[in-house]
């Protein structure tokens, strides 16, 4: 396991990168555009971003491309209308949040390193259930009764899964909320059973007392493995 922070030169590069990225967010217009793109369930076009930020399309295009240069957004090209073949027009340039993580702490703090060491120790000791119990307790302490608001405040980026709701709607009006962001992404990749189990328990705690909502494991590509369901 290599930790970039073990290497001073590497650490400085990473810090410079984070500073460049965060510097790009100093502008309030860019911040609005970034938040809009980051919160959208799918990649967004220039028109939608411009409208959300209340600026012109060309200004939005300029700032969106600056955010791409800073490594905060990435682009995908796709035909928006669903048409294909000749005559379908050029694919649109769409923007979505880049996968790269930026961490900056002044003075330097290495909570991620501590997290990895603790996770490895807990895994070695086989304390999954103890960890889950703590997560559930701490989550329940922070429950507010509003599942979507609580999870948003904790960085999960919840969204209602309309597709599945539509399908389930016919079967009996089930509501589904998925989480676009995994707040523990890197740790979860390294210790999936341990960290995803912890996260499920934490979310169960966070939505405790929320009328009819329950949290369950429902992994899918590019999102948190927990989903909320209400029958």
């Amino acid at each position: 396991m290599t930790d970039p922070q073990d290497d001073p030169e590497h650490a400085e590069d990473a810090e410079d990168e984070a500073l460049t990225a965060l510097g790009a967010l100093g502008d309030p217009v860019r911040r609005r555009l970034y938040r809009f793109a980051a919160a959208a369930p799918d990649a967004v076009g220039r028109d939608a971003a411009a409208e959300a930020a209340g600026i012109s399309r060309s200004l939005a295009a300029f700032h969106l491309d600056r955010l791409v240069e800073a490594g905060l957004l990435e682009t995908v090209f796709r035909r928006l209308s669903g048409r294909s073949g000749p005559g379908a027009g050029r694919p649109a340039k769409l923007y979505r949040r880049a996968g790269r993580e930026h961490t900056l702490s002044l003075p330097p703090r290495a909570y991620d390193t501590a997290g990895r060491l603790l996770a490895e120790a807990v895994e070695r000791a086989g304390l999954d259930r103890e960890l889950q119990a703590v997560a559930r307790e701490r989550g329940a302490e922070q429950a507010t009764g509003d599942p979507v608001g609580t999870l948003r405040a904790h960085g999960y980026e919840p969204f209602r899964d309309q597709g599945e709701q539509g399908k389930a709607g016919e079967a009996g009006g089930e509501e589904v909320v998925r989480l676009r962001n995994c707040p523990f992404h890197a740790l979860a990749e390294e210790f999936p059973a341990l960290v995803c189990g912890m996260n499920l328990a934490l979310v169960k705690g966070l939505v405790e007392g929320c009328d009819g909502w329950s949290a369950e494991m429902s992994p899918g590509p590019g999102r948190c493995c927990v989903a909320l369901r209400r029958l």
């Binding site: 000791a125 999936p192 059973a193 995803c196 429902s218």
Partner: protein, 152 residues
């Protein structure tokens, strides 16, 4: 396509006899989770006992009645990873300590086998032993340190 598939073995010591109340939850999960494996992209084969449904009657160590073995073959490391960590299997996996005691030594191993090869319990246990003795290498490795399939 290479001429190799990925074999996987996982051994685990259950906290109580397989037919007891402590393991009832685990046993209840098995049919669905095995079906999910069978239907997963890249699944090739999994070891079963004489009953043919799962491998819970197999005992890789005759002296240890609580040691279970689970062995399967997949098209690639990614296919196996998607099943183990990115499917409903993850839900069951996160409950592992309800049913299995922790192991201080390596308890799973990955290795490449020629397409069509079906590992035996003895072969699988040999790979776990290799990993315990020499650490991760081309003949027995881990998810964290995957080795590419042989080219020849």
């Amino acid at each position: 396509m290479t001429g190799f598939h990925l074999a996987q073995v996982n051994i685990g010591r259950i906290v109580a006899p397989i037919d007891g109340p402590e393991l009832a939850g685990f046993v209840a999960e098995l049919p669905a989770i095995n079906k999910l494996a069978d239907e997963s992209p890249g699944f090739v084969w999994r070891m079963v006992d004489d009953d043919g449904a799962d491998a819970t009657a197999l005992r890789p160590d005759g002296a240890d009645d609580l040691l279970l073995v689970n062995c399967s073959v997949w098209e690639s490391v990614e296919a196996l990873r998607d099943y183990v960590y990115r499917s409903d299997h993850l839900r069951v996996l996160s409950r592992r300590r309800e049913w299995f005691t922790r192991m201080t030594e390596a308890h799973q191993a990955l290795w490449w086998v020629p397409v069509g090869h079906r590992p035996t319990v003895a072969e699988a246990m040999e790979r776990v032993a290799l990993l315990r003795e020499h650490g991760s290498g081309p003949r027995a490795f881990t998810f964290r340190d995957p080795h590419p399939a042989p080219t020849a």
